[in-house]
Subunit: 467 residues, 2 copies
């Protein structure tokens, strides 16, 4: 495993992170990495994923380890690998090597953690077995990560504040993840073309396989369960068995995660045949207009909510122009009518987690004092903060024909005056479109980390058709 950067050592990066944290809190912190989780039996676990908070401050995906932060000091708690484990898992870096690499001031066995745990705050980990250890070693109840209390709440706020804006070392990793994810999508587009040559239709699984193989070949993992589907209207669709039909749009939401845990998150939607139908192109262009308009607005100080509302407005106006909605765009958005077709938020934070810091719930996504709206068009907004330099957000507007929404009697009745259902029927070959990029807030505006992957319909067509 390499350092984050050739210029800045991992130890220096981690020290800077501790310095930023130590300005916000005055109590010690213990963070656990977590353990292997059995899949069907103990010796057959899921791939290990360290807790993101641990990764942020420890830098390496160490298994069954903990770190203690106090001021700028760093102590590492982990056991030396048992001699017998060398047979099965080979020679591993010694604890001392690891401690040196991450700049730990001291290293202890895990059993010594208890005696170093006085008055320490923590974040509850997702792994239940490790969570037991947390409560046992801290000798007190630990509330779930999304509902912390006391010093754990103070810590959650402080960590949020530190992790919201990315440092140079994090950005190096995030750019690596973005670069590989771009290659994965390019490969997915190209493989779709082989459709025409195959004896029977390709399945979604074949395109997924081609995209994920790019990620695996770069020794990365998938940051989340890939969505590769001709049923883009199912927002979190994790089925891959459908055949690709000539008239289908294929929606692919696939992202890589580096070995150190940093994620990318890209969605593209392309035509299986290599060419959008006129109706598909009309709606694609609306989503793209929303996407472009939103990215244009990303800069320090702008409210992310306003970007979400801009997406809603551009989509509403586009649907009015196509005759699918009736009325004035701003009124339609006020009434949440856009959410009939764009029922999710325009995006979220991105970092070590694909929805960064989401384990902390709205503590991270929502500025202090703000709460989630219950409005149909706002309730799924995951981020409600003014943008700051160093934040990485996704911009991912979409258009979907979700049966559970459009056939819902109350919604149909509520919006009967603004939807032209007959006109909508003419767009039946569009089930789901989403265009998603990863946008870094910079001092002067923004930088789209995933800009090398085209969004324009004509260029997408070219990519699908290229050999």
């Amino acid at each position: 495993m390499e350092d984050y950067s050739d210029r800045t050592s991992l130890a220096a990066t981690l020290r800077q992170r501790r310095q930023r944290l130590s300005k916000l809190i005055d109590f010690p912190v213990i963070l656990w990495s977590g353990q292997w989780i059995p899949r069907n039996f103990a010796a057959n676990p899921f791939p290990f994923r360290a807790s993101s908070h641990f990764l942020y401050f420890a830098g390496l995906p160490l298994e069954n380890a903990a770190i203690r932060l106090q001021g700028t000091s760093l102590e590492l708690f982990m056991d030396e690998a048992a001699a017998s484990s060398k047979l099965w898992h080979g020679e591993t870096a010694t604890r001392e090597d690891i401690a040196k690499k991450i700049g730990a001031d001291a290293v202890f066995n895990l059993c010594e953690l208890q005696s170093h745990s006085d008055s320490a705050a923590t974040v509850a980990v997702q792994n239940v077995a490790t969570y037991w250890q947390q409560t046992k070693i801290l000798n007190r109840p630990v509330a779930p990560a999304n509902a912390p209390t006391g010093i754990d709440l103070d810590l959650a706020k402080a960590i949020t504040s530190v992790r919201l804006c990315h440092d140079a070392s994090a950005l190096l990793e995030l750019r690596k993840a973005a670069a590989v994810t771009i290659k994965a999508h390019q490969t997915g587009m190209r493989v779709t073309k082989s459709q025409g040559l195959a004896e029977q239709p390709l399945s979604e699984a074949v395109v997924r396989s081609a995209m994920e193989s790019v990620i695996i070949a770069h020794n990365m993992s998938c940051a989340y369960g890939s969505i590769v589907t001709v049923h883009g209207e199912v927002l979190h669709n994790h089925q891959y068995q459908h055949p690709l039909q000539a008239g289908d749009l294929l929606l692919a939401d696939v992202g890589a995660e580096t070995e150190m845990g940093w994620a990318a998150d890209i969605t593209r939607t392309w035509p299986v045949s290599g060419k959008f139908s006129p109706t598909q192109r009309d709606l694609y262009d609306i989503v793209l207009a929303a996407h472009d308009a939103c990215i244009e607005q990303v800069r320090p100080g702008v409210e992310y909510l306003d970007i979400h509302l801009l997406a809603a407005t551009v989509i509403a106006q586009g649907l009015v122009d196509l005759g699918i909605l009736r009325g004035k765009a701003s009124d339609l958005v006020e009434r949440d009518a856009h959410a009939l077709f764009f029922p999710h938020g325009v995006g979220h934070l991105l970092g070590l987690d694909v929805h960064d810091l989401e384990d902390l719930g709205d503590l991270s996504g929502y500025q202090q004092g703000r709460v989630r709206s219950s409005r149909f068009g706002l309730s799924f907004l995951r981020l409600h903060r003014p943008l700051q330099t160093g934040m990485l957000v996704t911009i991912e507007p979409g258009f979907y024909q979700v049966r559970a929404i459009l056939q819902e009697p109350k919604l149909r009745s509520k919006y009967q005056d603004v939807v032209n259902w007959e006109r909508l029927n003419q767009f039946a070959d569009v089930r789901g479109i989403r265009i998603e990029d990863d946008v870094l807030v910079t001092q002067t505006g923004n930088e789209v980390l995933t800009a090398a992957l085209p969004t324009k319909a004509t260029v997408i067509e070219h990519l699908v058709n290229s050999p």
Copy 2:
């Protein structure tokens, strides 16, 4: 999701399994499927894997469900999907459709499970959150799956007895997994050849990626963490960053799992250059001779331990013939000297788990009354039973130069009279070789489900070199 077979319906298969179980026990049984397990936050879980015992008797990978078996009756407990989940996960089969498909006599909400839980036995699941539910609903302590007590112990024995030998529906799935796994290995071998064309050496990750992509393209998953390594001497090596060098052997232990959970498990070892060196071929031929001799012995009534000892003997004799070991093969095996180079068991059960039933510990692998030996050459033997028709076992002898063994002072001293270390040094280009197939015990002998993938060195070379 399709039925196991065109001829036998899933419901009929499951009824037969209940009939076999009901002959062995006279108490009700509740089996839990388990839940999504968070990766880094709740909404980003690992791919769902239902408990194998649940899969065996429920047939479908249902999330957060339970079944109650009593005699031949089957009751399904699961909640109807919430209306809101349709937005994110789409329309799913109704509970009633599922109940019909699996032949359930009744279907209930999960909250009704408690009132149907009297005197029921269970198997502790691996998922900790579900395990809590088990103890809560049964209102009693539930010991871990590998140390059950009372009726849970009786159940574990009964389930072992039923699952040890596969029925026709299971075999249909196991053959599917084997067929896709064979394709994955063929692809891995072919991709290795592109090494010669690449500007820089391929990494292990690239070959892994090509192999796993075959599995993903068939809408299957990996039954276990793939091993694709030029360091085959690390038995459970899950690193993939090493470059492939011309003189290396690449060891690939990769297996597919069908949607219904049935596994395959194949290992092949091939030369990166496309050609074995003379030393590599010498040792490969010894492992292959052990592999072939063991498979030849697989038939009903044969003790699996004897097959393991046969592998040890053939390897010991081969090493004597090469001048690496000194003495009589049978004496060397008696002294565990073979285990210096072949330190694991010759194989294991294969079914819904890649080490089938391993969650139950040696209850499943070891015939009642037998316990694991502490001998260096026997302690890792996972199966110690007479073979029966319908059992599926792996046969996977190997040769490894494990530093942690060969440099261990006590072992060096113990075996100093039988190892020719100088001669061994001449085989430094062999770090690890394993050849593994999946062998079904049939009435008349055996059938190698994975036989279509060649094992002969010359044919392996041909495959690596084929375009």
